[in-house]
Amino acid sequence: MVEEGERCKKCSSPLGEGELERSMNVCPHCGYHYPLRAPVRVAQLADEGTVQIVAEELRPGDPLEFFDLKSYTERVSEAQLATRLTEAMLAALCEIGSHPVALGVLDFHFMGGSMGSVVGERFCRLAKTAVEREMPLVVVAASGGARMQEGLLSLMQMAKTVVAVQMLNEARLPYITILTHPTTGGVFASFSTVADVIIAEPGAVMSFAGARVIEQTTREKLPPGFGSSESQLAHGQVDLVVDRRQLKGVLTRLLTLLGKGGSSG
């Protein structure tokens, strides 16, 4: 994050005091979208005073007793301390433009926004609540992929979250994803891409395999902008690329257009 009196790390334009925060952490000069912490994202999207955080009691276990250079439990504790979050997904019930919604936001600062059992379970609980209360589900992704330290359990969260989305489909409730930088691996190849509408933030990079893996395996030279929101839009993989400063407005329109009151009731 940029300190007051500093310059934009992308375009080097000077930034006045509080200027970046006032423009939703988007550089007012070049439009660079700074990474957002999950609580800030929730505050930007939700109507003031409507946020209720849910499923906070869910905490990661250590089913594999995974140990590399450190134990998994140690890595989790460090992430919790550093981010003041309990896990990589912040789950909330709130209103967006007066529409009640279930909102999930991944935070890349918490172990790379990786999806383990808690992220999967919070996602499912949001989906269930959305169905119970007949609300849409909105999820903001930012993730390095699956949580390796939970082994195959983390891969299964891909199936789990996709199954959870089917509950919304059957209840004919809108499910909207917002893909931010970066959205990769198992998160990109599961709940992110089975939404009714997929929105991407400008300049975000999305890919299933990482650029390094692709270049190493296939010796292909990747073009500049590979996997970017703009490239995904051109290749038909996302519906819209929306500037963060317009995001709440676009979401509100979508929620109105997809909300109850369609011609078949």
Partner: protein
């Protein structure tokens, strides 16, 4: 001067070392407390060495399984077809863009049942492996699988999938063609399928590229197959910055069939012929297809809506977490 055979003799030594260490440890432990104290350092040393040996044996065993799972002569989808489905008719193409040879599928009769069979095909010869991208599917492959699964549903045929891939194909065209979405949509399609579904991991179950064909009512694994969120090499490169640590990663990931059964992530382990499936395709195929038919028999007795509910409930339950106050 060259020291002939050093690595292998050192390895051999390590596995012979444990019994004598254990014996010495026992002797020291049997000493009277006063005397034992003077040997405390040696006791500690022996304990550490035994731990190290155990860890090495563990990662050696895990790595050995990975090697068997990847064996070039291990039976692949078309070998099972040759052994068990004499009237198999391969159907090709995704009806959108192309035909991905990393995934094969078609119609055939298994025992007394007509089925749709879909599986990864890595290829045996180098030429076949190149044609089939070593079983690494592109979006066309996953979309072909979905198309065939829907065909099965229309005609009320059960679907059997055989999983054997290092992962989805990592390439520019695959990514731009919607690799992530194709995998997600395949997971979704198999989660929603109204007909009975059985998956067998027959070799390598590599990450999302495997899961795309592995959402099913029953998931079985051959004894020496592996199933993992990331390849041991990939994991080692991330954690230790060294792909040579892959054996350690293989152990830490608990990617073998027995561990995954214990974790409740798969339903059954199918034993292989001694030494591995590659030594006897006929026996392996017979065992696999017998278990597949038994599973299909059980699944067919369920009401379709109930079967779908159970499949979904199984995936919704998966996860391991704590609930704090």
């Amino acid at each position: 001067m060259a020291e002939p055979d050093k690595p292998s003799s050192a390895k051999k030594q390590s596995s012979d070392e444990a019994p004598s260490l254990l014996q010495r440890l026992q002797e020291l432990r049997n000493l009277p407390a006063m005397q034992r104290a003077t040997y405390s350092e040696e006791i500690k040393k022996i304990q550490d060495r035994l731990e190290a040996l155990k860890a090495r044996d563990g990662s050696k065993a895990a790595w050995n399984t990975v090697q068997i799972a990847r064996h070039q002569e291990r039976p692949q989808t078309l070998d099972y077809v040759a052994q068990s489905i004499p009237d198999f008719l391969e159907l090709r193409g995704d009806r959108l863009r192309g035909d991905d040879k990393a995934v094969v599928g078609g119609l055939g009769t298994l025992g007394s049942r007509r089925i749709v069979l879909i599986g990864h095909q890595k290829g045996h010869s180098l030429q076949e492996r190149q044609e089939r991208s070593f079983g690494m599917a592109r979006p066309e492959g996953y979309r072909k699988a979905v198309r065939l699964a829907r065909l099965a549903e229309k005609f009320g045929l059960p679907v059997v999938t055989l999983v054997d891939t290092g992962g989805a194909y990592p390439g520019k065209d695959a990514e731009e063609g919607g690799q992530a979405g194709a995998i997600a949509k395949s997971i979704e399609a198999f989660a929603n399928l109204a007909v009975p579904t059985v998956t067998v991991v027959i070799g390598e179950g590599g990450s999302g590229g495997a899961l795309a064909l592995a959402v099913a009512d029953r998931v079985l694994m051959l004894e020496n197959s592996v199933y993992s969120v990331i390849s041991p090499e990939g994991c080692a490169a991330l954690v230790w910055r060294d792909a040579a640590e892959a054996p350690r990663a293989a152990e830490a990931l608990r990617l073998n069939a027995r561990d995954l059964l214990e974790l409740g992530l798969i339903d059954q382990v199918i034993p292989e012929p001694t030494g591995g499936a590659h030594l006897d395709h006929r026996v392996t195929a017979k065992r696999v297809m017998r278990e597949v038919q038994l599973a299909l028999g059980e699944l067919e007795r369920l009401d379709p809506a109930e079967r779908l509910r159970l499949r979904r409930a199984k995936y919704l339950r998966m996860g391991s977490f704590q609930v704090s106050e």
